[in-house]
């Protein structure tokens, strides 16, 4: 079993910038396998980034098809090295948790549509278009590679996100 122990905050590896992977070889493929094994081993886990198993490299895995209600059109298991966010659009709030911050959830605002490019374990370039919850998962994992946790993305002090809306009266301009 390649399942590793998931690292919890305040471990510093979770707050650093993960380094580029570059060429994909056996070591990188083994890292990918460890990530996949660890993700599937943890109940409720739909994504895992290398820093979460203590490896400060730009790699993550995700699979939202294992959810109780899997989002339509999801890509199943995705393994990417050196991923980049090419496009992000739309916006939505949703409660998120993280294996590295146990016993904590908060509302996080994320884009609803993303295009992500990365390298597969075979060394091929791959572009993925994702929407909804899968898009959210991509952004969550990308954040890990930049040392960002859900604690950095909390949408508001109170959990009531609707405080942010203001309703413009007729004839008045609100800043």
């Amino acid at each position: 079993m390649g399942a590793k122990r998931v690292v919890h905050y305040p471990a510093r590896v979770l707050k650093g910038l993960a380094g580029p992977v570059g060429e994909i070889g056996d070591r990188e493929r083994e890292l990918a396998q460890n990530l996949v094994d660890t993700m599937y081993d943890a109940p409720g886990c739909v994504g895992l980034a290398a820093p979460q198993i203590g490896v400060p490299l730009r790699a993550f895995v995700l699979d939202v098809s294992v959810m109780r209600k899997p989002p339509e059109g999801n890509h199943g298991l995705v393994v990417l090295f050196d991923p980049e966010l090419l496009l992000a659009g739309g916006s939505d709030y949703r409660r998120e948790g993280c294996m590295s911050v146990p016993d904590y959830t908060c509302d996080v605002r994320r884009a609803t549509d993303v295009v992500v490019r990365g390298t597969t374990p075979d060394g091929e370039a791959r572009v993925v278009e994702a929407t909804g919850f899968e898009a959210r998962a991509f952004q969550h994992e990308l954040d890990h590679l930049d040392g960002l946790l859900i604690l950095d993305r909390v949408a508001s002090a109170r959990t009531d996100v609707f405080r942010r809306k203001r309703y413009a009266d007729k004839g008045q301009h609100l800043k």
Binding site: Y9, L148, A155, R164, K165
Partner: protein, 170 residues
């Protein structure tokens, strides 16, 4: 009619809000802004009520009506209210739990001229507790604020993220 500030704190159990709200309503008060939430297993109420009641009379009435609930109650005049500014920034501060995080960060914010409009803290987890604080604030100058926060968070050994709040108007 004047505004009174009412606070009530007690061990959480069903019926607290109903009991307090009943007294205020019966005495002709109108609850305006309020925050009621569970903090560490205690139910805490802070509210502003518009009423003709005198603070002492209202406090006695609340205590009498809620004796079995064992609430600590205070009622005072709420004077000098000014229209709050909309927060400009959201600050997350978090790290391994230790004394001094709230004091250190809020002192730095005050010194930097930032005004806190909302603040929430939470202790996360039991084995290696993490302290998380989220603050909404009004700040004029972001660069100086960020620099100051960097210094104090470094001293305290905590992480932070400062973001501008994007408001949406419908």
């Amino acid at each position: 009619m004047a505004e009174l500030a009412v606070t009530a704190v007690g061990a959480d159990r069903p019926g607290i809000v109903a009991a307090v709200a009943a007294v205020l309503h019966q005495r002709g008060g109108n609850v305006e802004d309020s925050a009621m939430t569970i903090l560490g297993g205690h139910f805490a109420i802070v509210l502003i009520v518009r009423t003709d009641d005198e603070p002492e009379a209202l406090r006695t009435a609340l205590e009498t009506a809620t004796t079995e609930l064992g609430l600590a109650i205070s009622v005072s005049r709420a004077e000098g209210a000014r229209r709050p500014d909309e927060p400009t920034h959201l600050l997350s501060v978090y790290g391994a739990d230790r004394p001094g995080i709230v004091a250190g960060v809020t002192r730095a914010l005050a010194d930097l001229g930032a005004n806190i409009t909302d603040l929430e803290t939470q202790v996360i987890g039991q084995q290696e507790p993490v302290y998380a604080m989220v603050i909404e604030l009004v700040a004029a100058e972001e660069a100086a604020l960020d620099e100051g926060l960097n210094a104090v968070c470094d001293d305290l050994g905590v992480d932070y993220t400062l973001r501008t709040i994007e408001a949406e108007t419908y």
